[in-house]
Each structure stands twice: as C-alpha cells, then as structure tokens.
Symmetry: C2
Subunit: 459 residues, 2 copies
C-alpha cells in the first residue's frame, strides 16, 4: 500500500495516459508564485468520469494521494502534490457537453477553460460571467471558489454553479444539485464541493448558469484624490442601487506601472475602472448618476464610453496589472495578498497596505474588486534576499490578521491551498473542528489533496 | 439516558423556561398542513446562545432528541418532534443585534420574524428581500432554505445569509462565514447549514445581506390565453436581460378564486403578476419592453402602475392565494406541492398538474414563482375521504417523479421535512450516502431533529 504500488496498479488501466516522464512531472510540479517546485510521482490523464472513478478507486486501495490539476494557474499552490502521489490532469476532459439556451445553462467537463467556454457560447447571445483573469479551467475555478472583476454584479462560482458530478474518495460517483434554479431538498453538497479544493471529491462535470449578453455596456475610468474618496464613491453608488457590472480600484503605484507599460500619462493617483451592463438608456443613466457621485468625492477625468475598442483597451490595461506591477521592479518576483473585508473597512485596510509596505521598503501595488471589499496587494521580492522575503511575509501576516480583526477573510477568491493554511485556525476557530469532521467522514484515508485547507491537527 | 432524564436535568437550568404544560406541548405539536398533531415531551425557551448550548449539551448527555421551533409555519412538518424530546422554541431570541448600514448587512437572532425585521429597517432605506409569504422566523427561513416571490431578482436564503452562529450537536458553538461579501477560505459551512432543517446544528445568530430600497417600482397584471403563452413570455423576458423583481403565474382556477374573494371580474385565464425595481426611468423602460413581449404571446389587459396603493392591492391579491383557493372548496382542507424544474419544462409540468388534477376530480389551483421554474399546485381534500386523499397523494407522487424526470427537484422552497422524505433517494441517488456521512459525522447520536431530511437507511 504505497504510492509505488498504486502507480503499478494504474499502469494497466491507463497505459500511456499515465506518465512518469521527468518533463511531465516537472510541469505539474510548477506554480505561479513562490512555492518550491513539487513534482508528483506520476501524472494521470483521465478522459471521462469512469476513468476518474477507476483511478480514485485504485488510489484508495493503495492509500495513494491524488491531486486534481486544471491549468496550474492557482496562486496558492493548490495543485502541488506535497505528499507525493498522482497528479490528475483534467485537461482531456474538455468537452462542452450541452448548451441549454432556453434555460440559460450549460453542462461542461472540468477541463474546459473559461475563454474556451466564452468562444463556444459567442453565437448564443449568452455568456458565463465569472472572470478570474487567468484562463483557468472551470473545474479549478469551482474547486477554489474563484471570482474576479464581475462578482459584484454576477456573483462568484458559488452563485453560478447549479450542479456538479463528483467522484468521491472511495471512487463512487455522485450528482449534486440539479438544473432547477433553486431547491430545498437536503444538504447543499454543490456548495460544499465548491471551494473544497479537491479535498472532498474530484469534480468531473459542472452545470453552470449563463447570463444574457447585455444590450448596452458602458465603461469609464475616473481619478480620485485618495483611496478614501474612491472607496466612498463605491459605497454611495452601491447604496444608491446603481447596478455596477465591474468596479475596480487601482492605487497610485499601479497607475505608475500602467503609464510605464502602456505609455499613457494618467495622473498618478488612485483610479476606479467602472463598467455598467443593461439597456442602452439604462447604462447611460447609470453612468451619469455614477459621474455625479464621483464628482462629489473629488473624482475627475471621468468620461464614459460604449465603444467596444475603447472599453477593451481599458480592461486590457486593468488585466495587465501583473505586468504593470512587474514594470516597477523588473528584476524581482511578485506575490499577491487577497483579503476581503466589509466595505466600510476597506479604505482602512488598503491604506494600511500602502503605508505599511512603503514603511518596510517594499515595492507594492493595489488592485481591488472594491464592490466586494476584496483587494490584492502585490509585493515585489528577490527570492535570494532572505531579509526582504521575511519582511514580505511579515507584512502578509499583519494584513491577514487585520482582515480577520475587521470582520473579513484572509482570502476573497484565491483560496487557501498551502499559502493561507496557517490562518485557518484564527479565521474559523471552533468551526475548523466541523470542517475536520466533514473531511474525515468523506475522505477517511486523507488521500484527496492532503495537506491543503486543513492545517495539521494536534489531536 | 432517556427523554425523561433529560427533562429532569434541564429543569434546574431553565426553571419556568421549560414547559410540559399540555397547552404548550399541543401548540408546538401543531402544523399548517396534513401531519397528525405531534406534541413534544417538553418545550424549552432559550434566551441566548449560551442557553442553547447548555440545553444541547444536556440533551446530548441523555441522547434526547431536540427540534428547533421558529413560528411553526413550515408546510412540511419540520418542527414536529416525531421521535419525542425537546421542542426548542426560539421566539425569545428575537433581537435585531446590529444594522451595518454602510455594509448593507444586519445581524439578527433567529427568532426575529421577516415582518419585524422589515419594520426595524424601514427608516434605513434598506430592506431584506426574501419573502416566503408567511411571517416566518429568519432562523426557520435559513434552516429550510426558504425563498418566495422575489427570488428571481434577489435570490433565496442561500444567497442572502452571509454568516451564522450555530450550536452543534455536542453543544459547541461555531461561527461560519464572515461579514465579507465573499471568501474562498475553506468549506462553506454557512451553505451547509442553510437548508439542513435543524439536523446538523441549531442556528443561534444570522448575518443577512440587505438591499437598497429601489427608487422606482412598477407592477402589473397581464392575462394570457394559456399557460404556455405566459411561460414563454417569461422565458423571453429573462433572455432579453430585463431584470424582473417578481414574476408570478396564476392559473385560470386561481383567478376564479380571486374573483370570488375580491369581487373582481378578471378574465378567468392564466395571468402573470409582475414587478420591476430600479430607477424611475428604468422601471418604465422595463415595463414597456415586457408589455411588448407579452403582446407577442397574446397577453392582454396589461397595464402597469407605480402607485403604491394599486401595487399593494395587486400583491395582496396574490398573497391571498391560499384563501382564494379555499373559496373554491370552502369545506375542504388544502395542501400544496412545490416542485421546481428548468424553465423550459415549466409549462409541461404545470399543464400536467392542471390536467391530471382535473382528471382525478380534484379541486386544484396553481401559483408559480415562474422566473425560477418553481410552482405550487394547491389541492383540496376532505381528511375523512380516504379515497380522495389517496388520489391527492397519488397525484403528489406523480408530480414529484415528473419533477425529477425533467431535471428538477421535488421542493423548490418548502423543504423536505417529513412530507418529501420519501423522494430523497430518487432525487439524490448516491449523493444521499454523502449526506448520511455528513449527518453521522456532525450528529453521531442523531439527536438533532431526527427523522427529517434523511430517510431511514437499510444499513
């Protein structure tokens, strides 16, 4: 009962769909942030749910860890097989199985990526709204409870997954939820699986809610004298019931980065990037009302557009935040925090980040999904500079503690993985015991993505 | 270790907040539908979370069943102590603890009722949108995953509860979620508790999302030549991205009932009751667009109003559906189904209900939350007419099976309780095993609302 015997047992089942080639292992052991490379012992490439069930059954029989792999774009090392075992690469399960246009839902396999789904849906007039930036797999997005710039309007993966098919730790296959829009029939296993990061089951199929393409879209940027002014503009806009589709904050440093990589000359103060979706007259009205509110808080340079090219350029700039950050310190690596707090405390948390990182001599930038109270503070560091890395980590700890103290969470959308596991006890307290009981009940051998979400227990 | 020893142990703790008076037991053993009266052995009246924790600890020590009681308005017998034990009456935990207006959330105790919260919030410009009709307690609404007429716009309890405090089966107190609008930090225990009907824990505090009162509200009714025309109007409206706040369908029989109790002379054909929320110009535009779509499907008599009195009269009529149904068969009792299906199959399910109930010689009416695919078919019966009651039950079984066959659920918003437990295996299949594992892990003695949600297991 070892990883080796599991691999031996998997070979006859999978043939060349099981790889132990160094290059393949190395690829599945990489990550986009600061975790050390962690190659698995083997990579399996299932092609259907039956494959996944058989693989899990064999792993269960040999007590071999199994870690689902989507596109590897996780920022918290979710997909790293830190206790060894099998990386389950879902990329071949990439079919869009059924578009139900009348019901505005779609059934997909977990390896379908966000952009691919968008392309498949283009002709239908429908779209899937959750956009975490990276071209992640939909299975991975569900597993990490991902969201992004549109969550303020359309919700996160939690609100946009209707049903799942999941392979459990014993290889059994369950279906959670249904295509009905709501149900009161028993425990909400769909929501339990969303955000469980592959520790309770392997998602093998998803039914997603779709939205109709809005008739009108207007977008704008607006400069503000400070963080508080920008955040107060957002609070007032939300309270006024003006439905924003996107509302993103960037700080002065980030604007400086944009100016470097885009050759623009935006005033280097905090900005909001805004988008409205609705009828043509609706978005015009909303943009007008927003402009008035922004002006009250000292917003200036506000100009809205419905032109597709101008809008796309605006969001391209915003989505290039990572590169704009890198432009401020080209030779350093970057990592990002992900706290989410009640919006009334957001300015306080962002100002703390800006001031504290400056005090520590760190290059930092802020991008925030400000309508949700969620923001990322990106920090540059030199991996060989241990003193600097210690300051980065000290800053991350302080910010995590602040988030919890303000009634928020250490992660709004990136997930726990390995990077936030040390805060689970502080954020959840006694509820962590409940999570452990659930994990133990559903995965008694701890073979599903061991070492993630739940910190080692003392008892 | 019996119910009797538990009651003896609870007395010193609770004094006169523990009652075994016949009238109190009888009250807590009643229900609004067809289940036989089922008085508990005692009723406890906790006044704070500490009380609940102590009561549960004592019940755990004596393996005594404990069933939370809100307002007793459940339609599926959720609050009946069918294995005896303690009814935990939450009505004294009825404080609105904190309104966070800037964050648009509120913290309440579980005994606060929906209407009471609405009154408390009136001056703030904010409101809590979930409206199941009855003046239910918010704890009960969360426990049954309730919704109602506004779910199409604002969601169900699932989307509107941010955080909970819960007393677990061993008397430990946990906090789930936070006041942050989103989080990816671990298993979603909030959503697991919502809809768990008191079988996994006792909800002792809720943090709820609030909405801003819309600037403009317009409402209307519209007559249609048939069910299909009305449903197709709704499908087209949703696909056009016109945001409805409420969209309710009533069938010809129900309109006949309205005409009887209200003295109106509406054409006795299917009708939609519609409401739009938004800016003043927005709701005017939406009502206009809806009117055009309705006309295409043969809708007539459409006239929208923004006058508060006219609107209130309209929704009062809709909310009196139960009495309108009763008017069609005044001497009989009534019960209601609650299936929810993908909207493309809704007309089929409603037409089946209308035709089948007529064929069986039953008095039936339909009201539907048609934007969600959820509808209630109310049926009249004489409890002493066993043949007729058998026909009602036969109809309910057929409709439940149809819902599952159409990719839907046997209960959109009323919950499982006792009334739908016989369909859990058929609706969930292997996923029922996962639910059982969770129940066993969190309530190993099965003291929390035993006999609800999970049907007796063969193993």
């Amino acid at each position: 009962m070892t990883i080796e015997t599991a691999i031996a047992a998997l070979k006859p089942l999978l043939g060349n769909r099981l790889s132990t080639a160094d290059a393949v292992l190395a690829l599945h052991g990489q990550n986009e942030t600061y975790f050390p490379a962690t190659p698995p012992d083997a990579v399996a490439f299932p092609e259907n749910t039956g494959d996944v069930a058989e693989i899990v059954k064999i792993c269960a029989a040999h007590a071999c860890p199994i870690v689902a792999y989507g596109t590897g774009t996780s920022l918290e090392g979710h997909h790293l097989a830190i206790e060894g075992g099998i990386s389950l690469d879902m990329s071949r399960m990439n079919a869009v199985l059924k578009v139900n246009a009348e019901d505005m839902d779609v059934v997909v396999q977990p390896g379908v990526t966000r952009k691919r789904l968008g392309e498949d849906l283009r002709a239908t007039g429908l779209f899937f709204p959750v956009d975490p930036g990276a071209d992640a797999s939909l299975g991975g997005m569900a597993a990490t409870r991902a969201s992004g710039t549109t969550a303020v309007r359309y919700g996160t993966m939690k609100e946009n997954v209707l049903a799942l098919e999941v392979v459990m730790a014993d290889g059994s296959i369950i279906r959670t939820g249904s295509r009905a829009r709501k149900s009161s029939a028993g425990y909400d296993l769909t929501k339990l699986m969303i955000g469980s990061e592959g520790t309770l089951g392997i998602i093998t199929e998803l039914t997603l809610r779709l939205q109709g393409q809005p008739e009108g879209i207007s977008a704008a940027t607006c400069a503000f004298p400070g963080i508080d002014a920008a955040v107060n503009t957002v609070i007032t806009t939300i309270q006024s019931g003006i439905p924003m589709a996107r509302i993103e904050l960037v700080d002065a440093n980030m604007v400086r980065g944009f100016n470097i990589i885009d050759g623009t000359s935006l005033p280097e103060t905090p900005h909001l990037f805004i988008e409205f979706h609705g009828s043509r007259t609706g978005v015009a009205e909303q943009a007008g009302q927003f402009g008035e509110i922004a002006a009250e808080f000292g917003g200036h340079g506000f100009k809205w557009t419905t032109k597709t090219e101008t809008r796309e350029a605006l969001w391209k700039m915003r989505h290039n935040a990572y590169y704009a950050h890198k432009a401020l310190a080209p030779r350093l690596r970057a990592m990002a925090t992900d706290i989410c707090v009640p919006i009334s405390r957001l300015a306080e948390a962002i100002n703390f980040s800006v001031e504290k990182s400056a005090e520590l001599g760190l290059v930092s930038t802020i991008v925030g999904h400000v309508g949700d109270g969620n923001f990322h503070c990106a920090l540059s560091f030199d991996p060989d500079n241990t003193d600097q890395f210690a300051r980065v980590q000290g800053f991350m700890h302080q910010l995590a503690k602040l988030a919890i103290a303000l009634g928020g969470t250490v992660t709004g959308e990136h997930g726990i993985g390995m990077g936030k596991i040390m805060y689970m006890q502080e954020e959840h307290g006694e509820a962590l015991t409940t999570m452990r009981l659930i994990k133990r009940a559903l995965d008694p051998q701890n073979i599903l993505n061991p070492g993630k979400i739940l910190p080692p227990s003392n008892h």
